[in-house]
Amino acid sequence: MGSHGIKDQVAIIGMGCTRFGERWDTGTDDMLIEASNEAYESAGITPDDVDAYWLGTAMSGTSGMDLAGPLKLVDKPVSLVQNFCATGSEALRQACYAVAAGAYDVAMAIGVEKVKDGGYQGLSGAAKIPTDGTGRTLTAAAMFSMVLPAYAKRYGVDQDELRMVVAKIAEKNHYNGARNERAQFRRETSAESICAMPAVAGQLSVFDCAGVADGSAAAIVCRAEDARNYTDKPLYVKGLGFVAGTKSGNLDPAYDYTTFPEAARAAADAYAQAGITDPRSQLAMAEVHDCFTPTELVLMEDLGFAERGMAWKEVLAGTFDLGGDLPVNPDGGLKSFGHPVGASGLRMHFENWLQLRGEAPDERRITTADRGLGLVHNLGGYPGEMLSFVSILGTELG
């Protein structure tokens, strides 16, 4: 028994990412074609060169044929994977393991979501499984809003001050997103203006929530030893951590909504696989799942970027800003991109792809890239019942 990881066995050799947004004139098929074309081009290969595909979508498809059909992938194995909001990362995880196992030489993970065709606010099209009608109908925003009073109470932080702290997280991510042509929201927004907005869930305003967007992103992976046949700057997969929670936080009076244990455990596993002992100083950057502003606050502690109870001070100190000690969400995060569920995890890997390879545009390029290691954290669910994914990517072997 043991989680051994596949450090340095698999490399990303090409990626693509569409513009995220309200793509009224673009269908699911169009976005799959757009993201995969960019990935093929980036790796310098054709669809035929890819031996197997993993399609991640939570609500925009029901089988592998939803990719094989529009791309006309002849005689290819195409799997559909679904794992809440970590669906895109799950597709990548499966593709990496298939290549590491030696089953395929080259594999693609592609995520897509067409959310805006539903006609409702927020995310909606989840599968309609017959139930007894007793399940919660609360929004994710309301579930995550419970973090703020809990955190304020546990660490003795003034509630209004903490509210401003998480607005600062939104301000930071919008600052970064304003410098990203693929982002949905490209306007800077001040923390003060966010605090002045009406609350929609607990203390949270609309601008504390990720937007709703359509989008797609893709990655092509191969065995690490073959990577340089495709690119001079591959990204090696150093660690893949994943935990599906037991949904016990909402049963257990000991759970206090100030931490996401599933995220901490997934990170610990990924760090062990990758040999990371001090993520704060070893990582060049992190893309984390900022579905709501309090989520990013808590993740800074769960991922080991800040001591327990100290993340709010680090946020105020600018630690996670674009020019900070450890830039977090330099692409603008879910805050700026919106959250096409199946695509978001791969979009996060795409930013590592750009930044670690020195290809991010000057106006939002991190200064820490020479550390050579990046992190993606992608979660699904709610405080107390969550699944969490953490990957570590690196520019060098060893």
Binding site: Q121, D132, G133, A201, L251, D252
Partner: protein, 459 residues
């Protein structure tokens, strides 16, 4: 006995303020948007059974003029929520207002133990006298032998045929004949029943200490009261609760019994499609028997704006949140999870004592499988660990106030709160569970439990 008066009150004067007509003095009770006659019957039944925890009813009769379902028995949901034995007959006595007093009298004349619950929702056309004078509520009487709080001395009924108040099966609103007609016929019918009941009980009129008179026709009630001479007529709750129709007989008896001195003879006169009179004597057990007195519930109310009343009753339709409506509950799933959905029964790990809401086969504390006992939690109080307000989620009456509940003795459940507002809730507040209707899809009502703040002094 149990009387249930919903949390909200409509100030009758507000009707005229909004519509320029109708209204009157005082208040009427209003069922919440998430209540119907079935949920209110459950609440009344819980109160009655809490006063007699060892009772095992042979029968459950549920009377209402506003059944949540036709064809399907409504009493079965009440039966499930009250965790009654599967061998208990549960049936509806539905449709007519007189079925409330009829069910009660039939139970009093029957052998064995009968739980009689009655509930009603009263609406009229906006600005009508029916809307103003009606009220919503429920009552329950556990009828049987043994250590009773009120002994049944005898009763009588007189039946007559006339169309004084009526409503077709598809009509939403009750209509009525000129009230002077009722004023002329009811007192005579009432007197006939009164004399017959006294005779049946071998009592003289001056033995009666108090009388409660139920009539949807206020003039008839007034005349009847006068005809009884000097007997003390108790408050018929028309100024505060309104007339809860099918439920009102039980509500008046409950209120009268909870205020009675041991030994007092209490009379009930009901003037509906004839007249029914029931005579009781309060026993020594009456003192302090009320679990949550009707008077207490009448006092502990919150005002509801008339516009909200109209929206809750479907008289005006508000724009819902732009979120998908919940799907209909699956009959098959709900049947498998009946204990959870209807009775709020979780499971408890035999080794660790960890409570699982909903019940689980594998414990989250030790992964032991199938090592749990049932844990009925509907009557266990809880404390709000934290809460939030959701202005985005779908609700028939947004916003949703939602709390993480930690139950006395251990166990947690995240739960929607009801009968409250966002600014009334504090971390650390005590709550109790209440049976509610979450919504209706494809004509199927989705019943489940919510929590409400405990009335002051009840914790």
């Amino acid at each position: 006995m149990g009387g249930y008066v919903p949390h909200h009150r409509l100030q009758r004067g507000d009707i005229r303020g909004v519509l320029g007509k109708g209204g009157g003095k005082g208040t009427r009770s209003v069922a919440s948007y998430d209540e119907d006659t079935t949920t209110m019957a459950v609440e009344a039944g819980r109160l009655a059974l809490r006063g007699a925890p060892d009772a095992a009813p042979d029968r459950l009769w549920f009377a209402t003029s506003a059944p949540a379902y036709l064809d399907k028995t409504n009493a079965t949901a009440v039966h499930a929520a009250l965790r009654l034995d599967t061998g208990t007959l549960a049936m509806d006595a539905g449709g007519a207002v007189r079925s409330g007093v009829g069910a009660l009298r039939s139970a009093l004349d029957s052998n064995g133990t009968t739980l009689v619950v009655s509930a009603d929702l009263r609406s009229g056309r906006p600005s009508s006298a029916e809307e103003t004078s009606g009220g919503d509520g429920a009552s329950a009487a556990l009828v049987g032998e043994g250590d009773v709080i009120a002994e049944y001395l005898g009763g009588a009924s007189v039946t007559d045929e006339f169309t004084e108040r009526w409503r077709g099966p598809a009509d939403r609103h009750t209509r009525s004949w000129e009230d002077r007609f009722g004023e002329s016929v009811y007192p005579d019918l009432g007197r006939q029943a009164w004399e017959a009941a006294l005779k049946a009980a071998s009592l003289e009129a001056d033995a009666v200490a108090k009388v409660a008179i139920h009539s949807q026709n206020a003039r008839a009630a007034g005349r009847m009261a006068k005809s009884l001479g000097g007997i003390q007529v108790v408050d018929d709750l028309s100024a505060t609760v309104g007339n809860t129709a099918t439920a009102h007989v039980g509500l008046l008896v409950a209120a009268m019994v909870e205020a009675a001195e041991p030994g007092e003879v209490l009379a009930l006169v009901s003037l509906v499609d004839g007249a029914d009179v029931l005579l009781f004597r309060a026993t020594e057990a009456v003192s302090g028997a009320a679990v949550r007195a009707v008077a207490e519930q009448v006092a502990g109310a919150a005002d509801l704006p008339y516009a909200t009343f109209l929206a809750w009753r479907g008289e005006i339709e508000l724009e819902p949140p732009n979120r998908p409506e919940p799907g209909r509950p699956s009959t098959a799933v709900a049947h498998r999870t009946k204990g959870w959905k209807f009775a709020f029964e979780g499971s408890k790990d035999r080794e660790s004592g960890a409570l699982h809401l909903p019940p689980a086969r594998v414990s989250f504390t030790n992964q032991h499988q199938d090592d749990m006992d049932p844990a009925p939690m509907a009557d266990v109080q809880a404390t709000i660990a934290t809460f939030t307000v959701d202005r985005l989620a779908y609700s028939p009456s947004p916003p949703i106030v939602f709390a993480i509940l930690d139950f006395d003795g251990g166990g947690r459940f995240p739960c929607e709160l009801t009968d409250t507002t966002a600014d009334a809730v504090r971390i650390g507040d005590k709550v109790e569970m209440t049976f509610r209707r979450l919504g209706t899809t494809d004509g199927i009502h989705n019943y489940f439990w919510k929590a409400r703040l405990l009335p002051k002094g009840d914790d």
